[in-house]
C-alpha cells in the first residue's frame, strides 16, 4: 500500500535564548530526526511525556510551523515545496483537533457559523445547501441539528470536542491530527469521543495521527505506535506488538508506570529515578542514558540508530538484543471478572439503544468543584 504520509528526517530547533544582537545562543532541540510513514485509514500514535516533541511533530506535518530540515510527503506531494495556493488546498486534506475544544472554538460564533466557515472558505458547498450540510455534520458526530443555533459556551466539554471534530470533517479530510483530544475530558465522556473517532474512521476511511501521553488510550485506538523521548523516536511498532513486547527501556518504563485499574496486579515496576533531562541540553549519546537502568559506557558516547527488525518493529537501543524479556510489565490475565464483563456488556447494550442525537443540552451546568 502506498503511504498517505511519509515523514523523513524531520528536524525543528527552537531558539531559546538570543544575544543582544539577535544571534541564537541556545536551542531547544524539540524534534531531532524523526521519520515515519502513515497509511490511509490507519492510526499512528505519537506517545511520550511533556516536551518530547510529539506536538511539534504534528504541527510540522501540517506545516503550521516550518521544519529546519527533513521532508514531508503527503499523497506523493512534497509539502515543503508547495506554494501558498497549493498549501491551502492541502489544508482541506489534513485537519487538526486540539486538547481544549473551548479554546479552539470562537465564542462569538454559533456552531452553525463555525461549521459553515470551512465550507465557504474552500467553496465546497453551494450557499443554498450549506445549512443542510451543517445538519449532516452535526448528526455525524452525534449532535442534534437544532443545536446549530447555539454558542460554544452552551455546550459541555465532550460536546465541544464533537463540534471541533465536525468542523474538521467539514472539508472531508484524509488525515486528522488529534492532539490529546480526550485528555481534558471526564472518563465517561472520553469513551464517547474515542468510540466516535473509531466509528468515523471506519465510515470515512480517515487516517489519524493521535498525539497522546496516555498509553491506555493509545492501545485502544492506534494501529501503530511511535514512542518519543526528547525529540526522537525510540521505538516504533504495530500497537499489538508494542504493548505485548515493549523493547526500549523507556517504553517499558512508561508502560510499567501506568497505574492499572486492577488492585494487586502482579507486574514488574520500573520507577525511573531522576528528572527528565531538558531538550535544551539533551544528554550526549543515547538521550535516555541518564535514566536508563541498563546503561553501559557505549550508551553515553554513541547515539543508537532506530533499527527495524524484519517484522517492522524498530528500536533505538544498543542493548536491545541483551535486555531481559518484558513479560511482567503488563499482566496477561486480569481485567474484568466474568460477572463484571457481563455487567458491562449489559450496561453497554442497554445504552446503545438510546440514540446519540438524544444528547440534550444543559443551560445551567453544576458549578461545584
Amino acid at each position: 500500500m502506498t503511504a498517505l504520509l511519509e515523514v523523513k528526517g524531520l528536524v525543528k530547533h527552537f531558539v531559546a535564548r538570543r544575544s543582544l544582537f539577535g544571534r541564537a545562543l541556545a536551542h531547544v532541540k524539540a524534534v531531532d530526526g524523526v521519520s515515519f510513514t502513515l497509511e490511509p485509514g490507519k492510526t499512528l500514535a505519537l506517545v511520550g511525556e511533556s516536551g518530547c516533541g510529539k506536538s511539534t511533530v504534528s504541527r510540522l506535518v501540517l506545516r503550521l510551523i516550518e521544519p529546519d530540515a527533513g521532508t514531508v510527503r503527503f499523497d506523493g506531494r512534497d509539502l515543503l515545496s508547495l506554494d501558498p495556493d497549493a498549501l491551502r488546498k492541502f489544508r482541506r486534506e489534513a485537519q487538526i483537533i486540539f486538547q481544549d475544544p473551548y479554546a479552539s472554538l470562537n465564542p462569538r460564533m454559533t456552531v452553525g457559523q463555525i461549521l459553515t466557515e470551512p465550507l465557504a472558505l474552500h467553496d465546497l458547498v453551494p450557499t443554498a445547501h450549506r445549512r443542510e450540510r451543517v445538519a449532516e455534520l452535526l448528526r455525524l458526530v452525534g449532535l442534534e441539528p437544532r443545536l446549530a443555533r447555539r454558542y460554544p459556551h452552551e455546550f459541555s466539554g465532550g460536546q465541544r470536542q464533537r463540534i471541533a471534530i465536525a468542523r474538521a470533517l467539514a472539508v472531508e479530510p484524509k488525515l486528522i491530527i488529534c492532539d490529546e483530544p480526550v485528555s481534558a475530558l471526564d472518563v465517561s465522556i472520553r469513551s464517547q469521543i474515542l468510540n466516535l473517532l473509531r466509528e468515523l474512521q471506519d465510515r470515512l476511511g480517515l487516517a489519524y495521527i493521535f498525539v497522546s501521553h496516555d498509553l491506555a488510550v493509545v492501545k485502544h485506538i492506534a494501529d501503530r505506535v511511535a514512542v518519543m523521548n526528547l525529540g526522537q523516536i525510540v521505538e516504533e511498532a504495530d500497537a499489538g506488538e508494542l504493548f505485548a513486547e515493549p523493547r526500549h527501556p523507556y517504553s517499558r518504563a512508561l508502560l510499567s508506570a501506568i497505574p492499572l485499574p486492577q488492585p494487586h496486579a502482579r507486574r514488574a515496576k520500573i520507577v525511573l529515578q531522576g528528572e527528565t533531562p531538558s531538550a535544551l541540553n539533551p544528554p550526549a549519546g543515547c538521550r535516555f542514558h541518564t535514566r536508563c537502568p541498563f546503561v553501559i559506557d557505549r550508551c553515553r558516547a554513541e547515539a543508537p540508530a532506530l533499527v527495524a527488525d524484519e517484522a517492522g518493529h524498530a528500536t533505538a537501543c544498543h542493548r536491545v538484543s541483551e535486555l531481559p524479556p518484558a513479560d511482567t510489565i503488563l499482566p496477561t490475565a486480569g481485567g474484568f471478572t466474568p460477572e463484571l464483563a457481563k455487567l458491562v456488556a449489559a450496561f453497554s447494550r442497554k445504552t446503545e439503544g438510546a440514540s446519540l442525537a438524544g444528547v440534550g443540552i444543559q443551560s445551567a451546568r453544576p458549578t461545584t468543584t
Binding site: L194, L260, P261, V271, S348, V359, T368
Partner: protein, 329 residues
C-alpha cells in the same frame, strides 16, 4: 473500620447560594470515615462534589455563600462548629492538604525554604535554625536532591514533579494525622506520577497518617487505596473495599465508569459509554440522581431517592437493583 475512626463525616450537606439566588446542591447526605493509617479514595467526575467535600473538611469553603450542615468529627473536634482559630491551628498541623497544581499553591515570591519554615514556626515554634534543619530533612525525605542547596530556591526554578514534592514536604512538616490529596498527580507525566505515588506509599508506611485521595483516575485508586467511595451528583453512590469495587461493583454508575476506561490489561472493541448528562444540581431529581442515565432504571427509581444500603460488610450501594449480579444471571 475500627471502633473509633480518625475522621468521621455524618450527613454532610453543602449548598451554594449563587448571585442569582439559585441554590446548588453540591453535596448531599455524605457519610464517610477513615481509620488511622488507611487510605480512602474519593472518585467521581468533574462536579460530583469530591473536592467540595475535602474543602469542607479543611474549613476552606467561603462562609458567605455556603450553607453546610452535618458533622465532621476529627480528634474530638466537630470541624464544622470549630472556631477559625481552632481550624487554623489544625490546618497544616494535624490536617494537611496537597493540591493538583503545585505552582498555584506555592507563593512565587518566597523561597521554598521560607514557606516550609513558616509552617514549622507557626505550629511548632522553636528557633529558625532548627526549623531550617527540619525543612532540609523534610526535603530529603521527599527525595529532593541536594536539599541544602534547593531550600533557597524559588518555586519557578523547580520542575512540576519537584514542586509537588515540595508541597508534600510542606504538608508533612508537622506530622499530620490526616493528609488530603486532591488530584496530586493529575498534572504530572506518568513516570513522575509513579515516583510521587511511591513516595506517598512510603510516607504513609513511615508515618501512619491517614490519607483521603481525591482522583478521577481509577488506576491510581487501585494502586494506592484501601477503600473507595464513588461520588455522583453530590452523593456517595457506592463505598467498598478496593478489591470489591473493582471485581464486583454494585452501582450502575461504577459499572459504567469501569467499562468506559481504556485499559492496558483488557482489550475492548467498544468502550462503554454513559449517555446523557449530570443532572442540574439546582433542581436535583426527586428519585435516584443517576436514573436518567441508567440502563437498568425502573419506575421505582425515579420516585424516591434510594438509600445507601450495606450489601456485605463494608460494601454499600445506593441502588435499589443491587446486588447487580441478579441482572445478568
Amino acid at each position: 473500620m475500627s471502633a473509633s475512626p480518625l475522621i468521621e463525616i455524618k450527613d454532610l450537606r453543602i449548598r451554594f447560594h449563587g448571585d442569582d439566588g439559585r441554590i446548588t446542591h453540591a453535596v448531599d447526605s455524605v457519610d464517610l470515615s477513615v481509620a488511622n493509617g488507611a487510605t480512602l479514595g474519593l472518585v467521581g467526575e468533574s462536579g460530583c462534589g469530591k473536592s467540595v467535600t475535602s474543602l469542607a473538611i479543611m474549613g476552606l469553603l467561603p462562609k458567605q455563600t455556603t450553607e453546610i450542615s452535618g458533622t465532621i468529627r476529627f480528634e474530638g473536634f466537630d470541624l464544622l462548629k470549630s472556631s477559625d482559630q481552632t481550624l487554623r491551628d489544625l490546618r497544616g498541623n494535624r490536617l494537611a492538604m496537597i493540591f493538583q497544581e503545585p505552582m498555584t499553591s506555592l507563593n512565587p515570591s518566597f523561597t521554598i525554604g521560607d514557606q516550609i519554615i513558616e509552617t514549622i514556626l507557626r505550629h511548632r515554634g522553636g528557633s529558625r535554625r532548627s526549623a531550617r534543619d527540619r525543612a532540609i530533612e523534610l526535603l530529603r525525605r521527599v527525595h529532593i536532591p541536594s536539599p541544602e542547596r534547593r531550600i533557597d530556591e524559588y518555586p519557578h526554578k523547580l520542575s512540576g514533579g519537584m514542586r509537588q514534592r515540595v508541597m508534600i514536604a510542606m504538608a508533612l512538616a508537622c506530622d499530620p494525622q490526616l493528609l488530603i490529596a486532591d488530584e496530586p498527580t493529575t498534572a504530572l507525566d506518568v513516570t513522575l506520577q509513579a515516583q510521587i505515588l511511591e513516595l506517598m506509599r512510603e510516607l504513609k508506611a513511615a508515618s501512619g497518617a491517614a490519607i483521603i485521595l481525591i482522583t478521577h483516575d481509577l488506576g491510581v485508586v487501585a494502586e494506592v487505596c484501601d477503600e473507595v467511595a464513588v461520588m455522583y451528583a453530590g452523593e456517595i453512590v457506592e463505598r467498598a473495599p478496593v478489591d470489591e469495587l473493582f471485581s464486583a461493583p454494585q452501582h450502575p454508575y461504577t459499572v459504567g465508569l469501569l467499562g468506559s476506561i481504556p485499559r492496558l490489561d483488557h482489550r475492548a472493541e467498544q468502550l462503554a459509554t454513559i449517555e446523557g448528562m449530570v443532572p442540574n444540581m439546582a433542581q436535583p431529581p426527586a428519585g435516584c440522581r443517576f436514573a436518567a442515565r441508567c440502563p437498568f432504571v425502573l419506575d421505582a427509581c425515579t420516585i424516591a431517592p434510594p438509600p445507601l444500603l450495606e450489601l456485605s460488610p463494608g460494601h454499600l450501594s445506593r441502588c435499589i437493583r443491587a446486588p447487580l449480579e441478579r441482572l445478568v444471571s
